[in-house]
Structures are given as structure tokens and as C-alpha cells.
């Protein structure tokens, strides 16, 4: 398990949260699986949005062009504008028993977030039968196709290392089953996955 915190929780609800990270911290990428330890166990999530807000100064500097490195660094390091990440919850664990349901309680403000390592990925994705996909697919406000594609890339690599190279086919099959009543969304999602897993 990674023991270097990647950020702290700013706000949350049952379905997800927003975590603030400093640019110097190890940053999860889009689609990364993260975990947030709580008193009873862990909450697992996927990073579905990374946003860096602008302000008037940044806008003005960007329009000026030809910025020296010192100004860029000043804005990244000194100015108090953190990187914010939006997380969608996909499951939780209590006493090491993993569930793909939404967590009974969301994590609390300033709880630390960690990036899941390949073993965490394997353990989580091996629990149950892809039940957590429904959390991603049911959200209208996130890029489900790209998110699943990024997640599947990471998870399939971890599964291959763990001796299960066929996991990816089972996962794609499950996605198809979940989406087969929605042709449009299915096409989008499979297109994204197809780009990530070319022939």
C-alpha cells in the first residue's frame, strides 16, 4: 500500500468527494483508484476530474504570453491555489472485507487520500463481480467512457501481473451487459475503451 498522502479531503457526500492536493504532492492521474482511510476501514474511489481553477492574475498572465519560468513557478508553488480532484466513490472496506456498494458514511474533512497500488487494485477488482461499474455508469455528469477506459488500463495491468490476463475481457463484457440498453452511451464507452486497448 502507498503510504504517501496524495491530498486531503475538502468536502464530500455519499457518492463522492473533492480532495485538495498541493502541486508538489504525488498526484493521482485521471482514472486512478484512490483510497481514503476512515475509522472503520477505507473508502475507495476513482478520480474523475482534476481541476485547477484560475483567477484574474492567471488569466491576465496567460494572455500576456512569453512567461518566464519564475512567474510560472511562482503561480504554481507560491500562490495558494491547490489542485482539486473530484472523486467518485466505488466501494469501501470494513475489516478488510471489500464491498462494491457506496460507503455507509462519507469520509471527513481533511482525511488523507492515498493512491492505490497494484495490489490494492487487484484486491478491489477481484471482490464481487464488477458491481462498482454501476456507480460510474449511472452518473450523467462524469465522462464515464474515458473514466472506465483509464481505470481498466490500470486494473488490467495489475491483473496481468497477478496472473489473470483475461480479466479485461470479463470487465468489458460486464460493461457491455450493463450498457446494452443504451446504444449511445455504449458506443461512447466502448470507443474510449477501444482507444485504450487497440488490437
Amino acid at each position: 500500500m502507498n503510504d504517501i498522502t496524495a491530498g486531503r479531503l475538502l468536502r464530500s457526500n455519499t457518492r463522492g468527494c473533492v480532495v485538495g492536493c498541493h502541486v508538489s504532492q504525488p498526484a493521482p492521474v485521471f482514472g486512478s483508484m484512490i483510497n481514503i482511510p476512515t475509522k472503520t476501514g477505507k473508502v475507495f474511489g476513482l478520480v474523475h476530474d482534476i481541476h485547477i481553477d484560475d483567477d484574474g492574475l492567471v488569466r491576465q498572465l496567460a494572455a500576456a504570453g512569453n512567461l518566464p519560468d519564475e512567474v510560472i513557478l511562482d503561480n504554481r508553488i507560491n500562490r495558494n491555489v491547490p489542485v482539486e480532484m473530484s472523486i467518485i466513490f466505488i466501494g469501501y472496506s470494513i475489516e478488510n472485507k471489500i464491498s462494491h456498494s457506496l460507503p455507509p458514511r462519507p469520509p471527513l474533512s481533511l482525511d488523507e487520500m492515498y493512491i492505490c497500488d497494484p495490489e490494492d487494485l487487484r484486491n478491489f477488482t477481484n471482490a464481487g463481480h464488477f458491481g462498482y461499474f454501476r456507480h460510474v455508469i449511472s452518473r450523467q455528469d462524469i465522462p464515464a467512457g474515458e473514466l472506465l477506459s483509464a481505470h481498466l488500463q490500470a486494473a488490467s495491468t495489475a491483473q496481468k501481473v497477478g496472473g489473470n490476463p483475461n480479466w479485461i475481457n470479463e470487465a468489458i463484457q460486464e460493461i457491455i451487459i450493463l450498457l446494452r440498453d443504451n446504444h449511445e452511451l455504449m458506443t461512447n464507452v466502448l470507443g474510449a475503451i477501444g482507444d485504450a486497448f487497440p488490437a
Binding site: G65, E70, D74
Partner: protein, 383 residues
């Protein structure tokens, strides 16, 4: 109650009419001033200027410019690539009123150290201090805003003088606003002491070999115009009111150019003697289609060193270019950003203090009801 816009309608119309006619006369006056400036330059160089002696010594009653060694109508371009480092400071404050539950007087000073072409992020220091009394205890009384401002100004230049770092490059220090303090001189001992401290800090900056510039964005002064008025007061009917130096130098200075350096002659000039004597020049930090005139105040030690002047000129242009279409020195903006105290911070600090005092068993007064009434919530809508 809101403004009575109906009442204002005819007044707006009058305003526009007046502005229109004023604008016409302004243009004529500007032309006239430019003519006089050129004439003055010619007469100074030919030695035929008659009233120059009027300006030979500081005139305590007039706030005006005095020619220095450069030709008054000359403009100077720069094409330097010299290395330098920059240091800027700014300050903000919390001032108390009688309506406050807890009188808090606090200054917040920021300093920012910027080294161009270093590929390092600027260093920042922020210092927050409660105002102390003569016994060096934290003052629990209401302190006037004016005094707090003065304390702040002194602290700002103190940041520029006292921040040390290792470098062999010339150090250019910049502050926001004129180097001439408007608060001084006053009779009270506090003011006197603080002003003295200010002058000593300026001297320290000089001794450190640093270049100091006070940056005035959107200057409204008419120092050079006043100078011309005095020199050519014999011309009857000469009326150069209603225009500022910026109006003149908008026409005179190309983008990136500075004006000649002038001496600053004012009632408080007496206080700035020797190398601290105040000088200034105008600088166009804008573009051809959008010129922008600023005034930069410097001390004599800087004005007499053309290399320092060029460095300061170059640094200010470099910094203003970073901000694109609204030129302003980046480092000053950042210094302000780091220093500024928002209203909610005063409230948070008040709350923090209240809690700590209560923990210590100290009774706290409430704020005035007048103040509370002002803070009543606006109308809300049921959701």
C-alpha cells in the same frame, strides 16, 4: 435607499456637456504646455531662461518639478539586458474603530524576492504584527488609521532594507506609491519618531547599495506643468489648470520610454536631504495603441547614477510586460496579493481572539449596535 436616478438624469446631461467643453480646452492647454516645455528646454540649453532661479532652490510653497541634469523635453529609450534581482514589498492593515468589540490594530507586510532568468520561484515573506505601543506592548486601544498607515509604510521599506540574500547582482527594490510620505511631518512624537525611522531606513537602503523606486500607477500630479507655470508666469492669461503631467507625457513619451529626471520640490522636500533628495521621472509602460504613463520616484543616490536609472527603467518595463494588456509590475501585484488582509480575516481574527480571551477568563465587550444593524442580513427567499 437607492439612488434617485430620475433626479440625476438632467445632472448627467450637464456633466457630459461640461466634460465636452472641458475636453476641448484641455487639448488646447496640452498643446500649450508642450510648446512651453520645448521652449523651456531650448532656453535652458541656450542659457536664456530668465526665471530659472526661481526654481534653483526648493520652493517650499510650490509643489512642482525642477529641472535636473537632463533636458526637460527629452525622452529616453532602453535596450538593456543587464542582470539584476528584484525586491518588492507591500503592506495591508487591520484598523480598529470604536464600534468594534475588540480593538485590533495589525499590519501585514509582504516581501517578494524575484530573480529573473534563475528558473526559481520567487521567495516570499509575510510578517503579521499587532501594533505595539511605546512600551513595546501590544496596544489594546483604538489607534488612528493614519498612524497605522504610517507604521505600515515604515515597515514596508523596512522589508526592503532588511531582507538579506546572497547575490552579486544589482538589487532593485520597488514599493507601491510615492517615496514621499504624505503623513509627515506631524507634531506628535509618534509621527516624528516614525518619520525619522523612515528616513533612516531609506538611508540604510542607500548604504546597502540598493536601487529604490516608488511606483505610482495613474499619476494625477501636475509637477512639471506647475514648473512651467512658474517659469512662464509672465505670460498673461496663462491658464494650465485642469491637466496633469500624464496628459503631457502621453503625447511626449513613446512606449517603453522615460522622461527626463526631475527634482521634486514640495513642502516636505526639506526632510529629504542629501542622497535622500526626492526625484522622479515619468515612464510609458503601455503600448502604441494604448499608452500608459506612470511616475517613478527615486532618491538622489539613484538619480545621479545613470546605470541605476537604466536598471530601474529596464526592470519596471520587464515587470509590466508580464502583466500583458494591463501593465503593472508583476512583483508589486504579488506583493500586494500576499499582503492584503480581507474583511473576513478580521472577523476570523476577532473570533480567535475572543475565544482565547474567554478561555483566559477575560470578559469581552460586544460590538456597537450601530455596527450590528449595518450587518443585518438582506432579504432571503424561501426555497
Amino acid at each position: 435607499m437607492p439612488i434617485n436616478y430620475i433626479n440625476l438624469q438632467p445632472q448627467i446631461k450637464d456633466y457630459c456637456e461640461q466634460a465636452k467643453s472641458t475636453n476641448k480646452s484641455r487639448t488646447l492647454k496640452i498643446d500649450q504646455v508642450l510648446d512651453l516645455l520645448h521652449r523651456c528646454a531650448d532656453e535652458i540649453s541656450s542659457g536664456t531662461l530668465n526665471n530659472i532661479s526661481t526654481l534653483s532652490s526648493p520652493n517650499y510653497k510650490n509643489r512642482c518639478a525642477r529641472p535636473n541634469s537632463e533636458c526637460v523635453n527629452q525622452s529616453f529609450k532602453i535596450n538593456n539586458n543587464d542582470q539584476y534581482v528584484l525586491l518588492a514589498s507591500d503592506g495591508s492593515q487591520i484598523t480598529s474603530t470604536h464600534h468594534d468589540a475588540l480593538p485590533i490594530s495589525l499590519i501585514n507586510i509582504s516581501g517578494i524576492f524575484y530573480q529573473p532568468n534563475s528558473r526559481k520561484s520567487p521567495e516570499i515573506q509575510v510578517s503579521s504584527e499587532f501594533i505595539r505601543n511605546a512600551e513595546n506592548n501590544i496596544s489594546l486601544d483604538v489607534i488612528s488609521e493614519d498612524l497605522v498607515n504610517l507604521i505600515r509604510d515604515v515597515a514596508e521599506v523596512g522589508m526592503l532594507a532588511n531582507w538579506h540574500f546572497k547575490t552579486r547582482l544589482p538589487i532593485i527594490t520597488i514599493s507601491d506609491g510615492p517615496l514621499e510620505l504624505f503623513h509627515a511631518p506631524r507634531a506628535s512624537a509618534d509621527y516624528q519618531q516614525l518619520f525619522q525611522e523612515y528616513l533612516e531606513t531609506l538611508e540604510k537602503i542607500h548604504q546597502e547599495g540598493r536601487i529604490l523606486g516608488g511606483y505610482i500607477d495613474k499619476p494625477r500630479a501636475n509637477l512639471v506643468i506647475r514648473m512651467l507655470e512658474i517659469i512662464y508666469q509672465s505670460i498673461s492669461g496663462l491658464d494650465l489648470s485642469g491637466i496633469s503631467d500624464a496628459d503631457i507625457f502621453f503625447r511626449l513619451l513613446e512606449p517603453g520610454s522615460r522622461s527626463a529626471i526631475f527634482q521634486l520640490n514640495s513642502p516636505s522636500s526639506n526632510n529629504y536631504t542629501g542622497p535622500l533628495a526626492l526625484h522622479f521621472f515619468y515612464l510609458n509602460v503601455g503600448r502604441k495603441d494604448k499608452p500608459w504613463i506612470v511616475r517613478v520616484e527615486i532618491n538622489k543616490w539613484a538619480a545621479d547614477n545613470i546605470i541605476n536609472v537604466r536598471l530601474l527603467h529596464q526592470a519596471l518595463l520587464d515587470q509590466c510586460r508580464l502583466m500583458g494588456s494591463q501593465p503593472y509590475p508583476y512583483i508589486l501585484h504579488r506583493a500586494h496579493e500576499e499582503a492584503v488582509v480581507h474583511l473576513d480575516e478580521k472577523e476570523k481574527l476577532t473570533a480567535l481572539l475572543s475565544f482565547s480571551l474567554q478561555q483566559s477568563g477575560v470578559e469581552i465587550a460586544s460590538k456597537s449596535y450601530k455596527s450590528s444593524a449595518k450587518e443585518l442580513q438582506n432579504r432571503t427567499r424561501m426555497k
